[in-house]
Point group: C2
Chain length 375, copies 2
């Protein structure tokens, strides 16, 4: 999705693709297939480029530092990306910055032994209350690597998961939240920032299914607090590019940081069709140190619904049905093979009546997911 | 510019490019360099594709018929494209459809001899009045192949131009027009159409420099007439895809057809940032027989200004200056080498105050053309 604004702005992307058929390789002419953990491949693909950026956070920081030493600007840089790679480091950094977050503790079974780590987690539960949340500090996403533990027995599975990898475990208090919010900013190397409206995201089984921009009925003070947290994270970690901070809105109107991502993020996909400047364009503008564009909404409401792999396997054929039902819902297909629950596309509707916008976006997505016309 | 909506809709384009560095070849992965007058190249590139479409009208109709006979859908088809290829045929077809157009005559020096053709043109001038306009029926564009003749002596140059090519000459009455308008429609094979707002285009030396959408202060009856002409052309010629009909608005509020194009057209570039569905997306949807999207404007006004090659030769470097001055003007660079007067990009501003929208678009384009900050 970065390629569309890159075409308009005359930015020539060069891509290191994980495979010959991945989405980005289908649309970026100048690409090479390779492994992002292979430093030689990284040196080869970055030869002669001005700036390197990412659509995930998993490139090893040692490799990023090696690229920096060879004169390549990495944006965001490794000093920021390490906090997106490791949820334990992220929690500790947020605490250092005094940003609002759930109570947490980090244990390292590989270093201190599983028995001591278990004892620490049980003590954490006894102190802040059971049940609580346990996550692997690395590698989890879309609900994977996350457990709700109600007793010491529930810890077996998380420990089993990290025994092989040597990763740490993060324990967090279970937050009694009203809903989830996301605050996005784009930030240039100089520190210039633009702030997108705070959105509401709805999850199912830990996977984002739907986003409404802006978050309906959000108290202006809560919106300001969410935005302040996002700008503090961007400044505190010296993030360059897009930053998405996912937040819990508590029953009493506070916000607590859940996670963040230093790249265009699913909770910002609405901006392609709904904002004056999309998150993908502002990511490119930020990492190239170009003046940023307005993040203002084009319409009062935008609703983005993910297309998660369902019974429809031929999305290209089903596209005609979805467009016939809702010709003005913007369809985005990622060129991926459909697998159950996999994010294979999204749709966005915009307008001035939220109920109508929600109805249209959900109907289009339902047609593309299970062929149903659930209006 | 078709590639951006193709990416979103999951449409895999395959491109026959005129050269390895042309704009489209920079952004379409699956491309081959070849000559569109080479039938073998056309057969090779179209093997296995469902639909062929075009970004110009110059593919020989015999080749298009050969592709059709091999089972490839050509949209628009040769029965329509011939009228976009030959201005003489176009004028005769418009007359057959009783559509409003300037008085005209077509002469064929290759067939009837130059002397007889000259006599016919002089008689035309004596009848409808001097000066009048002479055009080559084929191959002219952006003001090339067009002459204003004030006396018989002025005919030397047009005749010299067609002696080699064997083309015909079209003579048209000089229209005392108030301004130029453009009416665009998208049409599916089934006949379904959507109609874009009628726009005003401003030309300099026969080249479009600026478009305002919708045309300011346009009488609703004139707008309806312009739209009716465009839909009549689309139906009368069985056009599939985008059709742009360029019209003169006369001093007394009538419209006369100047020219038309059966593809996304410069006078519709505003729609990328200014309409709910761009002309490029609706062209793709039309030729693939998908339901069409709304052509409604996103904002009350959109102004598109072409970037014509000027003293700025490094557009990529100058992009930062233009974005700093006008961060919310949408820049589109075509990846072309800058040559004097060549269309190398465009900018579009949108908003609810026309003066402000005009000022911002012109300022951004001036910075990208000559580096001037002419506010």
């Amino acid at each position: 999705m970065m390629q569309q604004p890159a075409i308009a702005l005359g930015i020539r992307l060069r891509l290191l693709a994980e495979g010959p058929d991945v989405s980005a390789a289908q649309v970026v002419v100048d690409h090479e297939v390779g492994d992002y953990t292979d430093l030689d491949a990284l040196h080869r693909i970055t030869a002669g480029v001005g700036v390197v950026t990412f659509d995930h956070e998993h490139v090893p920081p040692t490799h990023l530092r090696a690229l920096q030493e060879s004169g390549i600007a990495c944006r965001p840089g490794p000093q920021a990306l390490i906090y997106a790679q490791d949820k334990g480091d992220m929690r500790e950094k947020l605490a250092e910055l005094s940003l609002p977050a759930p109570a947490f503790t980090v244990v390292d079974p590989a270093q201190h032994g599983e028995e001591s780590a278990r004892e620490a987690l049980v003590a954490f539960g006894d102190q802040i209350g059971w049940p609580f949340i346990v996550k692997t500090t690395r590698g989890g996403y879309d609900g994977k690597g996350v457990w709700k533990v109600t007793s010491a027995d529930d810890l077996d599975e998380p420990f089993a998961a990290v025994t092989a990898s040597g990763a740490r475990l993060l324990a967090e208090a279970l937050v009694d939240f009203r809903r989830e919010l996301s605050a996005q900013v784009a930030r240039r190397p100089s520190g210039e920032m633009v702030v997108y409206p705070v959105v509401e995201s709805r999850q199912r089984d830990g996977i984002c299914v739907e986003v409404t921009a802006p978050a309906p009925d959000l108290d202006p003070a809560t919106a300001a607090e969410a935005t302040a947290v996002a700008t503090s994270v961007a400044e505190g970690l010296d993030v360059v590019g897009m930053l998405a901070v996912e937040l819990f809105e508590t029953q009493d109107g506070r916000v607590l940081v859940n996670e963040f991502a230093m790249r265009p993020h699913n909770t910002g996909h609405w901006s392609i069709d709904g904002a004056e400047t999309s998150q993908f364009e502002n990511h490119l503008r930020a990492v190239l140190d170009l003046p940023l564009g307005s993040p203002a909404p084009r319409q009062p409401w935008a609703v983005m619904v993910n297309i998660l792999g369902g019974s429809v396997t031929d999305l290209v054929a089903q596209r005609a049905v979805a467009l016939a039902a809702e010709p003005d819902v913007h369809i985005h297909l990622y060129g991926k093979e459909v697998k159950p629950g996999r994010k294979v596309g999204h749709v966005t509707a915009t307008g001035d009546d939220l109920d109508d916008v929600l109805r249209r976006a959900r109907r289009s997505a339902a047609i593309l997911t299970d062929g149903e016309e659930t209006a």
